[in-house]
């Protein structure tokens, strides 16, 4: 919430709300001290009209370890067992029914009747000086092992996609809550003057994200904190380019005429919202030139392009978004959320997994490497995560076809990767049991992950709150613990 003296300052400043908007948009030019903490979200113009809450980012609660986040969201639930978490016991028992001794110990026996162990067909090997294990499908990520913190002890509380994704992004399976990117820009603002502070990038093969736009919703936060979708076909931002036949000069003249007309009206009504509207149009104009520059990769060297796999058709969609993400954080975008879907491999796991890792493994590794070589990894937190893992047993629910086995949704244990700002490198945190079923050591719930991410950004998850329906809400609901074992 806005701290009282700042609120007072704004209210007694004698300026209209338009002034506040202007100050926020120009925040990077503001004097040091409190004002500069209130970095603007590039989109935050006229913090809500007068009838609504005024909100200004509080700035970090303590010294941040990272400034920006790039969250690679692997929608659908990638299999931890075939990428990051090798299980020799499971492999040994492949095809056999799950030992009674194990099923009887389960508190929540989702393993039904004739479930059989499904050993991973993948080959694991150790990477880097740290010797972290990755499967052959994740060899590129493996080559970054010494920069990665691998958390093998994640667990979640929902086993359906939509609620599971909501939990991961918004901290609750209930609707109407803000997502992480909204919380972070609400807390920290953005450092970009020409771009939104919270951007969503979708790369999928025509299949959307299970949770839909609720995943980048501002929830009960003011709508300025909603994620702005950048598209990988057509205009990067919806309606960014001028209508057909309208030249840049014509567009500018149009804006000038709109501005003059708005100013005339302002002289009559003195509506501060009107000055904010004028500024919105100017910002839109700047975005019209900034965004094309952003998505124009012609200034990238061929080796950088290769790093992200832009030279190959299969890696290009996800790779372009990874490169775009880097260019965004370079330009001050606070939170970049990538979605890749879908890892929902109920059948033919081996083939589907290959398809997804072929598309993403190289670019994700390229992103980490590129950030590092540019000195950006220290201030950028990269997260690679899905909403849950997959069962150590064959898919039962939909039946199996020999040779085409898949794995079902699995909430009790899965793996998440982190790299960069504030997290340990070359470290493996926690473990699952010998079947990869339950997270058993240094268990880390989704809320703990969220608390830890906020912590890296200098935000205390207990303090980053917003009053809604008479209660202070936060990302981590009523739970969440910062996992110090993850931090440097």
């Amino acid at each position: 919430m806005l701290n009282p003296d700042r609120r007072q300052l704004l209210q007694s400043s004698g300026y209209g709300l338009g002034w506040i908007a202007l100050r926020q948009m120009l925040a990077e030019a503001s004097p040091a001290g409190k004002e500069s903490a209130a970095q603007s979200s590039g989109l935050r113009v006229a913090q809500q009209s007068a009838e609504s809450q005024l909100t200004v980012p509080s700035g970090p609660h303590f010294t941040p370890r990272a400034k920006n986040v790039i969250f690679l969201f692997m929608s659908g639930g990638p299999s931890h067992l075939d990428l990051f978490d090798p299980k020799p016991t499971l492999n040994r028992l492949h095809g056999e029914t799950v030992p009674r001794t194990f099923t009887e110990s389960l508190a929540d026996p989702v393993i039904r009747g004739d479930a059989r162990c499904f050993g991973s067909p993948r080959v694991f090997r150790r990477y880097g000086q740290c010797g972290m294990e990755f499967s052959d499908y994740a060899s590129h990520l493996g080559s970054c092992a010494d920069d990665i913190c691998m958390i093998r002890s994640m667990y979640t509380t929902s086993s359906n996609h939509d609620p599971g994704q909501l939990l991961m992004q918004c901290g609750t399976v209930l609707f109407g809550h803000p997502c992480m990117g909204s919380w972070v820009t609400y807390g920290l603002g953005s450092e970009s003057r020409n771009l939104p502070g919270f951007v969503v990038l979708l790369s999928n093969s025509g299949e959307g994200v299970d949770g839909g736009t609720a995943l980048w919703s501002n929830g009960f936060l003011p709508s300025n904190y909603r994620g702005v979708t950048f598209r990988n076909s057509g205009d990067p931002i919806l309606h960014l380019s001028s209508p057909q036949g309208v030249t840049e000069q014509m567009q500018r003249r149009r804006l000038d005429a709109i501005r003059s007309m708005n100013e005339l009206r302002y002289h009559q009504t003195q509506d501060p919202e009107l000055t904010a509207r004028i500024e919105s149009y100017e910002l839109a104009w700047r975005m019209q030139s900034a965004a094309p520059e952003l998505v124009d990769f012609s200034d990238e060297t061929s080796s950088t392009r290769a790093l992200y796999g832009l030279d190959q058709e299969v890696t290009r969609p996800f790779g372009s978004n990874c490169l775009l993400a880097r260019r965004m954080v370079e330009r001050g975008v606070r939170f970049v959320q990538l979605y890749h879907s879908t890892w929902d491999d109920h059948s033919d796991l081996n083939q589907h997994l290959k398809k997804n890792t072929d598309m993403t493994d190289l670019p994700a590794a390229g992103l980490i490497r590129d950030l590092k070589q540019r000195g950006l990894l220290d201030e950028t937190l990269v997260i690679w995560a899905g909403e849950f893992g997959r069962t150590p047993m064959h898919e039962i629910r939909r039946g199996t076809t020999p040779g085409k086995e898949g794995r079902d949704h699995h909430p009790f244990g899965f793996t998440v990767l982190m790299a960069g700002g504030g997290v340990r490198s070359g470290a493996v945190i926690g473990r699952t049991d010998e079947f990869g079923y339950h997270s058993v050591e240094q268990r880390m719930h989704v809320h703990d992950l969220q608390a830890t991410i906020l912590h890296c950004l200098g935000l205390d998850h207990l303090q980053l709150t917003y009053r809604h329906q008479g209660r202070d809400f936060r990302l981590t609901d009523v739970a969440g613990e910062v996992m110090s074992s993850v931090l440097t």
Partner: protein, 880 residues
């Protein structure tokens, strides 16, 4: 403390006096890191949540735990604590006693946790000091004092008449002016007549006034013209469209299921159209309430009352494979319970889903009692024919029936046996989950896919299977048979192939298609088997706690509805509706008029409008709120009368111009010394632009439409497709745009339309560059500019300047000023040059429609530019 008495009061959540909160923060700050137990932070919450229900107002055992002196005084048996000696203190002895001893406190519910006991011990060891200034209140005491829980008494209207700079036109003004006068603040003057015309037209119909409306208004007698307009607008069929919008936000109406698969609900619009109709006919709010909550339970349900129950059908349906049927059914009931809580009571009931409400007098038990009322209903779609459908259907049906029965007759008995076996297998699986995964799955699939993409009740198939055959309707039998033929072969593959049931299935499908079935509509029906409901421990339906009976909340007003004190009869949705609309219900009327007020002033008298509980905001004008509530309640709940009252007030008619004198003392305009300029909502932005351009199609009602939008938008959700509508459906009012929950219409999102997964009581009004980009560049809006240009070029005008004047009136419903005309003329001339240089060749374009005059392409470009400037003005998307 006195002898042990067991009393049966529910323990209701934590409830401090409001004043404590401020004090709490200071104390907490002062005591950080001292290692000491802090009374306010640590002790008071325990006392409040576990002790005060009996030891505050009721003083069981003569012991009150509310302030320092009461604490010192102890109870009937003397002191309850010995400073420094916790073990000898009676309070510790009692809270640690075993339940069997009959001495344990609290006697009901779980014992205090060890942590809680340790805190109390430490506090006594520390000396058990009760800070002098701190008073605790039980939730009940706090609730009894709470303004919103007091029965609404009609306040006296201040006796004021218009005088010295103040205009008092009706009682609303008397309340507002009374408060302004005391503060020596001037009312704002009445808005400019045309600003007022545009304001009231937008507020009552969601559309801007047309140039003819402007002309008529200016020609009418000044003293009465405003009233004439108000009456015309209240009678307009567009009134219902405008007022349906906020209600649809509340019940989070959409055209799809939500969740992963987000399947279509092609008949969801039937409820939306009912709502428009109800507003247009000024259906009293009590009747609207009864119809929507219990339209199937009234004495003689009508098509109208059944359509209204579609209100309860706006909850989401999860049809994702593997989704637990009961889990998501429970989510729906929780959603409905919250809807009742928020929409009628202005309470945050959702908090009590997992635990007793922390601030308001709503226990978890009460939440599930209310839940139990709503749990006794099932989702079913009913054929409710549109006009003209029924007679055609009846003719066709006779033949269909005959053919169908004939086709099935030869194998009827065998089929019956087979289907019965199939049903029995599934029911056996439901009763013994985990034993047979394939039959578990068969049941699950029935519950997941029944009526998918048709917006039918998802669990209706399961309900039919659970209904004894002889009690099923003919329609139910047919539809279950159809499902069985298509998907039931698991029971006996051999029999299916021997009887050739796949062929039968497809033949029956074809047969069905030969009939024009009456359009169906989503409704609710009382469950055939009453459901027993338990408290869901910590909100988890898999962990049932105590059984509860359907019940209502205990607000201050005494008996719920008539006849339900009887232990045998169950409280129904109809009782619920009667209780909500009872004249002594302190919340319903206040909450309803507050939301109406919000629509006319941008902000409710209570803001935010969704919490009238102890943590909510107090009203800015309590007497005005209560007077309006009493007026609404006592005069038959006529919404149009309420709206008329508000818009006829001088308060509403004030200018919205910025006032420097108010900005500092009243930045939120709580005092109402002016109107507020409000950015139009997403629908209105669209409607206004389309209306100014002449493209708007004013057809009311019907299936939702798919106006053009970039293809990528629909792709944000899980394999959604947006099949763009043709013809005039591209230009319908925003209200009719198809609402896909997972990937909503982009224009709407940009202009702050809320997500449709949960209740929205108030829309945001943000101001973002994305809005600028949309208005500038969205092909839909640019098309509007072109259409507007075409139209004005077809018209006969003396000069460019005059032509521009006409455009401004069309868009802004007021004449342009000379300065504005100068700006636009300059722009026009500038554009002429630019376009001439960029388009050297003479090209011509044909106008569509009846007027086939050929317009010069360059001319059109130039004028489309001018129109686009006008359609981008802040004023255009603002109601001043």
């Amino acid at each position: 403390m006195g002898g042990c008495r067991v009393f049966n009061l529910m323990l209701v959540g934590l409830g401090f006096a409001r004043s404590l909160f401020g004090c709490q923060q200071t104390l907490v700050a002062a005591q950080v890191n001292t290692g000491q137990v802090d009374f306010v932070k640590d002790v008071a919450p325990i006392l409040a949540s576990r002790c005060l229900n009996c030891h505050a107002d009721t003083a069981e055992g003569g012991f009150r735990l509310v302030d320092e002196s009461a604490w010192q005084h102890g109870g009937d048996s003397g002191a309850v604590f010995l400073p420094g000696n916790p073990d000898a203190s009676r309070v510790i002895q009692r809270i640690t006693a075993s339940k069997e001893s009959g001495h344990r406190m609290p006697p009901e519910g779980t014992p205090l946790s060890e942590t809680q006991i340790d805190i109390l011990r430490s506090w006594i060891t520390q000396g058990a000091t009760w800070p002098t200034q701190v008073t605790l209140k039980s939730p009940k005491m706090a609730a009894a004092d709470h303004w919103a829980f007091r029965v609404i008494q009609r306040p006296d209207v201040p006796e004021l008449t218009s005088q010295a700079g103040y205009r008092v036109l009706n009682p609303i003004d008397a309340f507002v002016v009374d408060s302004l006068r005391r503060r020596e603040i001037q009312q704002s003057p009445e808005a400019d007549p045309l600003v007022l015309l545009r304001r009231v037209t937008l507020d009552l119909t969601g559309l801007p006034p047309s140039p003819d409306d402007v002309k008529d208004y200016l020609a009418d007698v000044p003293e009465v013209r405003y009233e004439h307009v108000v009456d015309r607008l209240l009678a307009s069929p567009h009134y219902g469209e405008r007022w349906a919008r906020p209600w649809l936000d509340l019940c989070h109406f959409a055209d799809t299921d939500g969740y992963l698969t987000d399947q279509k609900r092609p008949v969801a619009w039937r409820y939306r159209d009912w709502l428009i109709h109800a507003f247009n006919h000024d259906m009293p709010f009590d009747q609207m309430t009864e119809f929507q909550l219990a339209g199937d339970l009234i004495d003689s349900p009508t098509e109208d009352s059944l359509l209204a129950t579609g209100f309860l059908r706006n909850t989401l349906s999860n049809r994702e494979g593997g989704a637990d049927l009961e889990e998501y059914r429970v989510e729906q009931i929780v959603d409905r319970t919250q809807m009742v809580g928020t929409i009628w009571l202005g309470l945050t009931l959702g908090c009590a889903r997992c635990h007793d409400h922390k601030y308001d007098p709503v226990s978890q038990k009460q939440f599930y009692e209310l839940f139990a009322v709503l749990d006794q209903a099932d989702e079913v779609n009913l054929p409710i024919p549109l006009s003209g459908e029924q007679s055609l259907f009846e003719q066709q049906y006779v033949e269909y029936r005959r053919k169908r029965d004939e086709r099935i007759a030869p194998i009827l008995d065998e089929l019956k046996t087979l289907q019965a076996r199939w049903e029995a297998k599934m029911l056996e699986a439901v009763a013994n989950p985990g034993v047979s995964p394939i039959w578990d799955r068969q049941w699950e699939v029935l519950g997941l896919i029944w009526g998918g993409e048709l917006g039918e009740g998802q669990l209706e198939g399961c309900v039919i299977v659970r209904t004894p055959v002889e009690q099923r309707t003919a329609d139910e039998k047919d539809r279950l048979l159809d499902y069985f033929l298509a998907r039931g072969s698991l029971i006996d593959e051999a029999a299916f192939s021997r009887l050739n049931l796949a062929t039968l299935s497809s033949e029956l499908e074809t047969m069905k298609k030969s009939v024009t079935w009456p359009t169906r509509a989503p409704t609710m029906r009382q469950a055939r088997q009453p459901r027993t409901v338990s408290i869901h421990t910590r909100g988890d339906f898999r962990v049932p706690g105590d059984l509860v009976r359907p019940g209502l909340l205990e607000l201050n007003h005494s008996s719920p509805a008539n006849g339900i004190d009887d232990a045998e009869s169950q409280i129904t949705r109809r009782n619920l509706s009667a209780w909500l609309m009872d004249k002594d219900n302190p919340l319903t009327a206040r909450v309803a008029v507050n939301r109406a007020w919000q629509e006319f002033f941008g902000r409710g008298l209570v803001d935010p409008p969704d919490d009238f509980g102890l943590r909510g905001s107090a009203p800015d004008h309590p007497a005005l709120l209560d007077w309006l509530a009493a007026e609404y309640r006592d005069n038959g709940w006529h919404t149009k009368s309420l709206h008329r009252l508000i818009v006829m007030s001088a308060t509403y008619r004030q200018s919205s111009a910025f006032r420097a004198d108010l900005h500092q003392i009243d930045p939120r305009n709580a005092l109402l010394a002016r109107q507020m300029p409000l950015r139009l909502n997403a629908d209105q932005v669209r409607d206004t632009v389309l209306s100014a351009s002449g493209l708007l199609c004013r057809t009311i009602g019907g299936p939702s439409v798919f106006p053009p939008q970039p293809e990528v938008v629909a792709k944000e959700g899980f394999s959604n497709v947006w099949k763009t509508s043709e013809g005039e459906d591209r230009y319908r009012r925003g209200l009719y745009t198809w609402i896909q929950r997972l990937s909503p219409f982009a224009q709407n999102v940009t202009f702050d339309a809320p997500p449709t997964n949960s209740i929205c009581t108030r829309r945001d009004r943000s101001n973002s560059p994305l809005q600028a980009l949309t208005l500038l560049n969205d092909p839909v809006f640019f098309e509007a500019a072109e259409a507007m240009a075409r139209q004005v070029l077809r018209e006969d005008h003396q000069s460019d300047r005059e032509r521009i004047s006409a455009l401004v009136v069309r868009a802004l419903a007021r004449p342009a000023t000379d300065d504005e005309l100068d700006v636009l003329m300059n722009y026009l001339n500038d554009q002429k040059q630019l376009v001439n240089s960029s388009l050297p060749d003479q090209t011509e374009t044909e106008l569509s429609g009846t007027d086939r005059t050929v317009v010069d392409e360059r001319e059109l470009r130039v004028w489309a530019g001018v129109c686009s400037v006008i359609l981008n003005l802040h004023e255009l998307i603002t109601r001043e």
